[in-house]
């Protein structure tokens, strides 16, 4: 068993790499920037500098591999540069899938996102539920199209499984794709935080270690062409802020601002700064329930959910000890 991992420098990818390394697997990493690899040890690990948008570099890395975890993606939400989402997340995935067919890969796990299922009403969504809203975010739409590609290749005979993590949080670098951890760090270090008035809306938060386990389980037991939500508990924003404040004894003051005012500000900022992280559609994303049901992964894969409070405490302890 020789495993190729894409996206190994990302939050999830780096944790997955560590886990597989601990389990003693032979790993091949396809990375754009080898220096960005966070692993403490490089035992049983081959590093290929390359890019999933460059099929030649994929071929070099994938040759001789038997299994693939495809976690690489552009995850950052922003208004400009939408083509990059499709170039990397769709065309890049197509490149990986084509190579996987060519090199007779035994099994591939594709990291999608629970964002492809969209917002929920009052009942947590399952993999079968229809999307009730059109795609607004280019990230969500690109991941949806990439998932379609995976299913298309499964029809052609590829053994591939899709996993859909929800909002991942946990110890580790507070990167863009670790948004909850970033928020916690903010609460720990800053005096004041402006938040949209959306306290009642519930979202789903998955603990990083659960999601890593979910990937490994999907490789072992996932059925070809199926999607598995890798989620956690459904928590309201109010509960989230209160839990963080309660455990961390944060002195940060939360100031609630009506959603419409934030939207106005977002429109205003986007006039001057195309790279702003504050976009009106991003705010709208938060003013909705995004509840998920991980029952399928639990019953079919043996996925387990760490209680939210436990995961949160581990994250806060980590941030207090290791991060400034």
């Amino acid at each position: 068993m020789k495993i190729l991992i894409t996206g190994a420098t990302g939050y999830l990818g780096s944790r997955l790499t560590q886990r597989l390394q601990q389990e003693g697997h032979v790993l091949v990493l396809l990375v754009r920037e080898p220096k960005a690899i966070l692993s403490a040890s490089f035992a049983n690990m081959t590093i290929h500098k390359g890019d999933i948008t460059d099929p030649a570099s994929i071929a070099k890395a994938m040759e001789g591999c038997t299994h693939v975890y495809h976690t690489a993606a552009v995850a950052k939400y922003q208004s400009s540069g939408m083509d990059r989402f499709y170039e990397v997340n769709v065309t890049g995935t197509r490149n990986i899938l084509e190579a996987a067919m060519r090199f007779n890969i035994q099994k591939l796990v594709f990291t999608s996102s629970a964002a492809v299922f969209g917002p929920s009403l009052d009942i947590p969504l399952t993999e079968k539920d229809p999307r009730i809203e059109s795609f607004e975010s280019d990230y969500d739409f690109s991941k949806h199209l990439a998932g379609n590609l995976v299913r298309e290749f499964v029809q052609k005979g590829l053994n591939a499984v899709i996993v859909n993590p929800s909002r991942v949080f946990g110890p580790g670098p507070a990167t863009y794709s670790n948004g909850v951890t970033r928020m916690i760090r903010y609460l720990l270090t800053k005096k004041i935080l402006f938040i949209p008035e959306i306290g009642a809306y519930r979202s789903n938060y998955s603990f990083i270690e659960d999601v890593v386990d979910g990937h490994v389980l999907a490789m072992q037991k996932g059925k070809a062409g199926e999607s598995y939500i890798l989620g956690g508990e459904n928590i309201s924003y109010a509960e989230l802020f209160n839990s963080v404040a309660g455990y961390s004894s944060s002195k940060c003051r939360l100031i609630k601002i009506p959603v419409d005012i934030i939207k106005g500000a977002a429109h205003f900022t986007s006039l001057f700064n195309r790279n702003t992280e504050l976009t009106a559609s991003l705010i709208t994303r938060f003013a909705k329930h995004r509840m998920l049901n991980s029952r399928k992964a639990i019953s079919e894969l043996g996925y387990r959910i760490t209680p939210f409070q436990e995961g949160l405490h581990l994250t806060i302890d980590y941030l207090k000890n290791y991060a400034p």
């Binding site: 499709y86 769709v90 009052d122 229809p130 059109s134 739409f141 199209l145 990439a146 379609n148």
Partner: protein, 280 residues
């Protein structure tokens, strides 16, 4: 027997029909959802039952067959289900040069877009009369107003619905049945259309609407018995301009549009769009 009155929606499994179904459910209307066979319809029906607590009857059938339209009517009547809203949404779209598609495609397109709404309105007429106040909503398109390039048959079928609805509305007013026709512009319904709309020129992009928004406007105005429903500010601006501009200028604009479409169809210039349209 259930005494509640149901709303029947065709083409309800995906796209605009799905948005109409979700909006009707949100408003609390019991539903008969009709769609082509496939997994989408039962998933949608389950979702609506769970989340909105309204009864849903789903029927998987192909309305391009006259016999299936009749069978649908008989099935609803025999089950004792009372219909007071009929939404003829099912349709087959398409943008291509006329000679590129087979005659069999156009036959099917006309059967679904023209004959099915005609037959269903005919079959359910007595039902709608006895359950009045009732409503018929036909789903036309902005392409029903204009001669949009490469939408010859589609545009023609949508013009038919405009004309059919207007005339029928006059007849049925006394029986307390309103007949409305909704003419959406570009909508983010399928993956490939969503992709096209993202890549569209600025002015076109402004007019793009999400189906859930159009569904909410269409239903509100249908219940208000509005005859012709044009959803969205920009679509109304386009319609107004269409009326004000001289003929030669409208033809000029459409010719420009045709050139743009033909440029996009050039496979050498597709690039990323080609990749995604295959994915979609």
């Amino acid at each position: 027997m259930n005494r509640e009155k149901y709303t029947l929606i065709t083409g309800a499994g995906t796209g605009f029909g799905k948005a109409l179904a979700l909006e009707c459910a949100r408003l609390g209307h019991p539903l008969v959802l009709v769609s082509l066979p496939g997994p989408e319809l039962s998933c949608l029906a389950d979702f609506i039952r769970k989340n909105h607590q309204v009864p849903v009857i789903s029927v998987e059938t192909d309305l391009s067959e006259e016999g299936n339209c009749i069978a649908l009517y008989n099935r609803i009547r025999n089950a004792g289900i009372r219909i007071n809203v009929l939404i003829n949404n099912a349709g087959i779209g398409g943008t291509d040069r006329f000679e590129k598609k087979a005659m069999s495609f156009y036959k099917k397109q006309l059967q679904v877009n023209v004959l099915a709404p005609t037959f269903l309105s005919y079959l359910f007429l007595d039902e709608l009369k006895s359950n009045s106040p009732s409503h018929i909503l036909n789903v036309s398109s902005m392409a029903g107003f204009f001669c949009v390039p490469q939408k010859q048959v589609y545009g023609g079928s949508k013009s038919y619905l405009l004309s059919f609805s207007g005339s029928l509305a006059l007849e049925l007013k006394k029986q307390n049945i309103s007949v409305s026709v909704v003419c959406p512009g570009a909508m983010n319904t399928t993956d490939s259309l969503t992709w096209q709309n993202k890549k569209a020129s600025h002015i076109l992009k402004w007019s793009v609407m999400n189906p859930e928004r159009v569904a909410s406007i269409a239903l509100k105005k249908m219940f208000a018995k509005r005859k012709v429903i044009i959803p969205g500010f920009w679509n109304n601006v386009i319609c107004l301009l269409h009326r004000l501009l001289p003929e030669w200028f409208r033809v000029f604009l459409m010719e420009q549009q045709l050139k743009r479409i033909e440029r996009k169809q050039d496979p050498q210039k597709q690039g990323l769009a080609g990749t995604v349209s295959i994915a979609a």
